[in-house]
């Protein structure tokens, strides 16, 4: 009898503890150090175009059995697009009529919280920039991000979730501070005397 009760309780606990659940990725928070920098480099206004995921698996992020879902139509390429748009808006570089359009393809979107002390994210995306429809920039940026993790899932999972936007910040920073991008988006010096 006692054995039967123990099995039932064990099963119930296993269900409670191990059942995979779904969490929503946090809304993107802009990097205001990057915003400060972008306000002073005299760039032309931009907008974002089409962002796609290279593979359906890109949009399936799992953290210790729990799914982390993008709040933008379950699409992480849409998450990246919204994050980039927000960074440009906070930097006063956004214009829905701008002739410079940044598009992208999310190539890698890996979150690994299996480690007991370190969590890791690896993100990679190809960014295409066009001016009046002509491609002026085409480059892949890749970032690696680490954070403190834990053996305890109740700590490790929230830490991983909260670090996804920071990983995206790093990817966007890699793009927006790339000298090649700055060169093609900088306001032309008219050289007037």
């Amino acid at each position: 009898m006692e054995s039967s009760t123990t099995i039932r309780i064990t099963t119930a606990l296993a269900v409670v503890i191990l059942t995979g659940c779904t969490a929503m990725a946090p809304q993107y928070q802009p990097d205001f150090e990057l915003v400060n920098t972008l306000k002073d480099v005299n760039l032309q206004n931009m907008q974002t175009g089409k962002f796609v995921s290279a593979d359906p698996s890109i949009d399936k992020v799992t953290i210790r059995g729990s799914s982390l879902v993008s709040p933008y139509n379950n699409s992480y390429s849409e998450y990246l697009k919204n994050a980039l748009s927000e960074e440009l808006k906070q930097s006063a570089l956004w214009d829905t009529n701008a002739n410079i359009v940044i598009s992208g393809e999310l190539l890698e979107n890996e979150m690994d919280a299996s480690g007991f002390s370190i969590g890791e994210a690896d993100l990679s995306a190809r960014f295409l920039v066009s001016r009046d429809g002509t491609e002026v920039y085409n480059k892949v940026h890749t970032i690696h991000h680490e954070w403190a993790s834990s053996f305890v899932g109740a700590v490790a999972i929230p830490n991983a979730i909260n670090n996804y936007p920071i990983a995206v910040q790093k990817l966007i920073g890699a793009l927006l501070l790339d000298i090649d991008l700055l060169n093609v988006t900088r306001v032309a010096d008219t050289g007037s005397q």
Partner: protein
């Protein structure tokens, strides 16, 4: 000697109880971006959020005896940058209020410092998200010499029902933050002292 069932219950209690649930209170910014306000001042401004405040997690009541936790300064910094950007030419995040080199280099005329106080509650006894949230926002502006030129306090209230917050656990907080920062934008834009 504890029986196996008692051990399992103890483990369950340890794992399940005692945590505050993390939420996000970052508001939607479109209302602030589209608000009808006077043309922005040509002056540049800065804002200062102490590093400790930016990372500080606040814990307030949720529902069913549980608590919620969030970082009010970090999660609403975009709203502060947005409303100041509607009222002034350029807005800079500052690491201190007395960095005279930074103030001179960026031609900063005023420095804004926010103070945020929050409270929350819930009418639900079986769900942990807060159904009601209040965000009291005080902004103080000093000039480049540190002299206080303006101060205002506003309070935003947010409410969310179960069928709304089931998709967004911080919804009442987002709504309170949006209300507070939108009202603060109107106060700054119409202050007449900048």
């Amino acid at each position: 000697m504890l029986r196996p069932a008692a051990v399992l219950l103890l483990v369950a209690a340890t794992l399940v109880s005692g945590c505050a649930h993390k939420i996000q209170i970052t508001p939607q910014l479109e209302a602030m971006r589209n608000a009808q306000v006077p043309a922005p001042s040509e002056k540049n401004v800065g804002y200062f959020i102490p590093a400790a405040e930016r990372e500080k997690a606040v814990i307030t009541p949720g529902g069913g005896g549980d608590k919620i936790t969030y970082a009010p300064y970090k999660q609403t910094e975009a709203a502060l940058n947005t409303i100041l950007g509607r009222a002034f030419s350029k807005v800079y995040s500052m690491r201190s209020t007395n960095d005279t080199n930074f103030i001179a280099e960026k031609n900063i005329s005023y420095i804004f410092t926010p103070v945020i106080e929050t409270s929350s509650s819930s009418s639900g006894i079986f769900t942990w998200p807060a159904t009601d949230f209040s965000l009291k926002l005080t902004c103080t502006a000093v000039d480049a010499n540190g002299n206080k030129v303006w101060n205002k306090t506003v309070t935003g209230e947010g409410h969310a029902e179960y069928n709304e917050f089931i998709k967004d656990f911080g919804l009442s907080g987002r709504r309170a933050a949006e209300a507070a920062y939108t009202e603060m934008l109107m106060e700054i834009a119409n202050a007449g002292v900048f």
